[in-house]
């Protein structure tokens, strides 16, 4: 371990151990040489997006272009896990692109929910949304849930932490 750099990156005022401290060290060292933190000290709590217990769904598209017509590019990653028509995780012959999760029953995009997609919203309004003329609607829809973990912690939170 002595070959590793332990110079602190973010912490002001931290200093390397003094030579006296090294000299005092026992044959079997029991303490750290240097502590180095990269996240803490600048840590800011992440804002929570709580969708506890809500049924969610997302569109699956044949091509990324179709997905981007409904959403933004960053909302249309290539699906790394969904293999259409197969449960085999190593079968990469057929892939799909999925849009973001949105709340089941949502009809339009809001700041908290991406909604069913621009073309879907337009269809619901019987209006035309600019886009590719070759747009193909989602081939299917996936269903999932958020908030299936965390309930016990939320209940316990009122009584303080629960770590041991």
């Amino acid at each position: 371990m002595s070959g590793k750099s332990r110079r602190p990156k973010r912490l002001e005022g931290s200093v390397p151990p003094s030579s006296a401290a090294f000299a005092n060290r026992m044959e079997k060292q029991k303490r750290s040489d240097m502590i180095w933190l990269v996240v803490l000290g600048a840590a800011v709590a992440t804002p929570l997006i709580l969708m506890a217990g809500k049924d969610m769904q997302r569109n699956l598209y044949q091509t990324r272009e179709d997905c981007v017509t409904d959403y933004s590019e960053s909302e249309c990653p290539r699906d790394a896990t969904y293999h259409y028509g197969s449960n085999r995780l190593d079968d990469s012959s057929v892939r799909r692109y999925h849009g973001p999760w949105f709340e089941a029953g949502s009809t339009q995009r809001t700041s908290a929910d991406p909604g069913p997609g621009r073309q879907q919203e337009s269809s619901a309004r019987n209006s035309f949304a600019p886009g590719r003329t070759s747009y193909r609607p989602p081939v299917s829809r996936e269903y999932g849930i958020r908030g299936g973990f965390g309930r016990s912690g939320a209940i316990r939170a009122g009584r303080g932490g629960f770590g041991g």
Binding site: R6, S32, L50, G144, G150, F162, G163, G164
Partner: protein, 379 residues
């Protein structure tokens, strides 16, 4: 072992905040500030006392690992309250050799005689940041500011052991490790963020999320960006994961969890009864049993799956708790009192190495989540 009055550092609160330790002062129910970290005193040990604590912790951890192996081999789950699904996940994680990250033992120790195991917080231990970082910088600062203080050492190589352990547990860096907890709890969030910090230093990309942000897409657990979660550190008890809505998906998903499911056995106080049954008279164990009448004298009743002292009762001879949940009785071993405070020794195991110590103290005999953290040193 003694409690020594020392001068706090100037602007110690700012120093702690600079270490990322932002929950050093709690707030009482009626809104008053209540110090969680104090540094107008410290606990001082001799080298031989630290070595006793180190060797006892190592011995107990090894016993615990042997216990898990035997329990899994025999399918001896009855006293742990597991259903078949839970037992299967535990067996699978053990047989696959999934490795644990960390744990904290609570010991009763007054400086003489063998330390006694009160419990092993092997699934969701907290007070890690203060043990690893805050008291280390406290010692360093004092060594720089006080002529005599440089003579002291500290039982604390938690930080570098964690970085090494990540490398052992995860292997060659690649992909992303997710970190989840109940983020509304400052202590849990601080502990999780500190672990994430060490994981980054081990070379991994990380993401953080609240437990309630975890999604399930029908096949896999996913994060807020719908990315599949391959490796997940959770500061969230296994019994809650099993019991909640997504618990049913734990068997089919590819997510590898830290702590692994087998830690559920060690987090259950039933392990104390199991250990005593299989190692009666062990110098670092206290008599423990599900049968009140098996232990003479004053006992402590401990619910099997509670934390932070919740539900713990001290029972005089012959008395049993009314309407109690599943729990064990442990022979009473009262914590030593220093300057009117009950002192609890918490020793850290990172991976399989005993490597650190954190002291908690309280006016009450039972340590709670509000019990104060006090730094330590030895020479």
């Amino acid at each position: 072992m003694r409690r020594v009055a020392v001068a706090p550092r100037r602007e110690w609160q700012a120093r702690l905040l600079g270490n990322g330790f932002d929950f050093h002062t709690l707030v009482t129910d009626d809104g008053r500030p209540d110090p969680y970290w104090i540094e107008d005193a410290c606990y001082e040990f001799s080298t031989s006392q630290i070595e006793d604590l180190e060797s006892a912790t190592q011995e107990l951890h090894d016993l615990c690992l042997d216990a898990v192996g035997e329990i899994v081999d025999r399918g001896d789950y009855e006293s742990f309250g597991l259903n078949q699904f839970e037992a299967t996940l535990i067996e699978r994680s053990w047989s696959l050799g999934e490795r644990g990250l960390y744990g904290r033992m609570d010991l009763s120790y007054d400086g003489s005689g063998p330390p006694k195991l009160l419990e092993y917080n092997a699934d969701t231990p907290t007070s890690l940041l203060e043990s690893s970082v805050a008291q280390w910088f406290w010692l360093e600062d004092r060594a720089n500011g006080d002529r005599g203080a440089h003579k002291f050492d500290q039982f604390n190589s938690i930080h570098e052991q964690l970085i090494e352990r990540w490398q052992t547990v995860l292997g060659k860096p690649g992909g992303c490790v997710h970190f989840a907890c109940h983020q509304d709890s400052p202590e849990d969030f601080g502990t999780t963020e500190y672990l994430r910090d060490t994981c980054i230093q081990a070379g991994w990309k990380t993401e953080t999320l609240d437990m309630s942000d975890i999604g399930f897409d029908g096949m896999q657990f996913i994060d807020r960006s719908d990315r599949v979660i391959d490796r997940m550190f959770k500061l969230y008890p296994w019994e809650w994961l099993f019991a909640e809505e997504f618990g049913a998906h734990l068997g089919g998903s590819r997510t590898r969890w830290l702590e692994p499911p087998w830690k559920r056995l060690l987090a259950d106080k039933a392990i104390l009864s199991w250990l005593w049954q299989h190692h009666p008279g062990h110098p670092n164990l206290l008599p423990a049993s599900f049968d009140r009448s098996a232990i003479a004298g004053e006992v402590v009743f401990k619910p099997c799956l509670e934390r932070e002292g919740l539900g713990v009762l001290m029972l005089p001879t012959g008395e049993a708790p009314p309407d109690s949940p599943r729990g064990i009785y442990q022979a009473s071993r009262r914590l030593p009192i220093f300057d009117g405070r009950h002192a609890l020794v918490g020793t850290w195991v990172i991976g399989d190495v005993a490597c650190g110590l954190g002291m908690r103290e309280d006016q009450h005999a039972i340590t709670r989540n509000t019990s104060r953290f006090v730094p330590h040193r030895f020479r």
